[in-house]
Amino acid sequence: MSAAIFFGIFAALAVLTSLLVVAQRNPTHSALFLVLSFLNVACIYVLLGADFVAVTQVIVYTGAVLVLFLFAIMLVRMEDLPEMYGGHPVQRFVGPVLGVALFLEILAVILSTVPLGAAGTFTPDAIAAVGGNVQAIGRSLYSDFLVPFEISSLVLLVGAIGAIVLAKPDESAARDRETSSLFTISLAHPSESTVASESPYTMLQEREILLRQEHEMDEAGEALRR
């Protein structure tokens, strides 16, 4: 009885906030509604008896991922956000149509009574005998799913390294320009091909000038001392 009422409340709130995430113009508002949506989904997890997943959801999603999203929104300049100058009318029409079609298909599958497989051993009594949800999940994770667990830690490591490499302020644009000017054989504009070969020369010239200036300053210092 009470579980059904709570399910209704949380489900309605989750759907409403998810709709607002998609409908909001400002991505900052979208991110904040996404927090509410994730919290409501965490409540649904609690209703399903998955306490540990619910806590992980709150910590990882609303704690880490959403902060990351807000950082990214702040780092991207707000004036070139695309929603300000209208969208494709075709996209706006086709998206919801495809979505509703997919929903009807899923609903047809859900409502057709598919027999479930044999019940496993993860019953409430078994969970209570082990000591709780966290203990039961931990036992399953470290026995049956040990290899996927280790692989997921590797995936996290690679993801962290990849994020650092990708977000690093790069000089690759300048490097691309240099290499393209070095390795482009231009037949039509011979004057451009000399630009690349000029740069080491100008560097040498600059250095020579600097050295000469230094020399002159030294001489001036000596003259003053005299």
Partner: protein, 101 residues
């Protein structure tokens, strides 16, 4: 008493479809990412509901794996978005067409 499996699966389907509509209609990369995260969440609800209906721990363990991979995906994806905004000055998926030219 307790809502049945169909209710949880329907909620999961609704959230998944909302995320799908967001991916298909929005043009801001960041909002598309948020919609993808919402879809992953919807799948998690399905996993846990089936795990409960079958009295199996696998559903919850898989939900944990999905959360892990989603975190890694968000980190890499947002790094790509930032690199994109730095080099191309846009987060509009309609304008990212350098490879086409």
């Amino acid at each position: 008493m307790h809502p049945g499996l169909e209710w949880y699966l329907s909620l999961s389907a609704v959230l998944f479809v909302i995320g799908l509509i967001g991916v298909l209609t929005r043009r801001n990369v960041l909002v598309i990412f948020m919609s993808v995260e919402m879809m992953l969440n919807a799948v998690n609800i399905s996993f846990i509901a089936f795990g409960r209906a079958l009295s199996s721990a696998t559903g919850q363990v898989f939900a944990l794996f999905v959360i892990t991979i989603a975190a890694a995906e968000a980190a890499v994806g947002l790094a790509i978005v930032i690199a994109l905004a730095r080099r191309q000055d846009t987060v509009d998926v309609g304008q990212i067409d350098t490879l086409r030219e």
